[in-house]
Symmetry: C2
Subunit: 158 residues, 2 copies
DNA sequence: TATAAAATATAGCAAAAGCTAACTAATTAC
DNA sequence: GTAATTAGTTAGCTTTTGCTATATTTTATA
């Protein structure tokens, strides 16, 4: 039997992970992850630029590079992309600014990030671990799950 | 002030996300995420091959392609990589097998995946959403957090 | 069993994100 | 105010993971 045809197979009634999901749904899961990966880096940069402006007054390429753990050349290239995407406004050799769109992306990312981080802490994860996990998980948490995390935080607040 | 120097700055005493983490730690967070991305796809393939063998008796490239939502050529190329990495044993035009190493990676991934999925469900996330989120989150959850999730599942089992 | 269909492989292209090296601009220090 | 240092840019390379198109092999069918 071909795997394509399995989509027509009757549901097994088994709700655990033990059964493979129908092909179409399975593929959609991986597609969602791939899509997230495409926007992930963009969001991380925009979020970081926002944070730098917020906390340090300005966002310099050098600081982006050292905080991201990459070379300046990499940042330069990325900033050009962010410009093209209309997320960042910049002039050569000057520090960076977010456009309206960039600003709202930054706020959105920061909010998600905060919720995930607080959720992990509320769950009992150590701060340094929580920060690392949050950075990775942030982009893979659906709105539905995020709302549930939010509720969890409120219920478990001291 | 240069951002590099900020590493020597005294901690603000503010444990919320409101403060930027020290530069070195911040960079390590992003590095961890980048590293996860490198192994992520590999693990997904190996895990899926394991699942296919388990549930369908064999793993064919076509089925990998349809379930991953990519083209067969992409799978072919990936399988060559998995071979080089010593995770998969395969002969041209034949179905795929996992090596010892591949098998243990598959088991490990499946275990992680299961815990994350069950955790999300225990938290109250709908099944279809939980599956999507788990697929993305799986690779970004530390052992520490995983253990906590495990405990949470046990405590909240009916 | 010969042929059509399905599965797999290979070649070659593209985009993304990293790198180094070499160059230019801005800032700081003297 | 010039020289040295720091910051930013650009060009060109590499790896990874997609893709299409084409060739080859295996399997199924008439």
């Amino acid at each position: 039997m071909n795997d394509y045809e399995q989509d027509n197979a009757p549901p097994t009634g088994d709700s655990s992970r033990d059964a493979l999901p129908p092909v179409t749904q399975h593929a959609r899961q991986y597609e969602t992850v791939r899509n997230a990966h495409e926007t992930e880096l963009i969001e991380d940069y925009v979020e970081l630029i926002g944070d730098l402006i917020r906390h340090r007054g300005e966002a310099r390429a050098t600081d982006l590079a050292s905080r991201m753990g990459v070379r300046q050349a990499t940042v330069s290239k990325m900033v050009r992309r962010l410009n093209e995407l209309g997320l960042v406004k910049s002039q050569p050799y000057r520090s960076l600014f977010l456009t309206e769109a960039g600003q709202s992306m930054a706020e959105n990312s920061r909010a998600r990030h905060d919720i995930v981080l607080q959720f992990l802490r509320a769950l009992g994860v150590r701060d340094s671990t929580a920060r690392i996990d949050a950075e990775g998980m942030e982009h893979h948490v659906s709105d539905e799950t995020l709302a549930i995390m939010q509720r969890f935080i409120e219920e478990n607040a001291k």
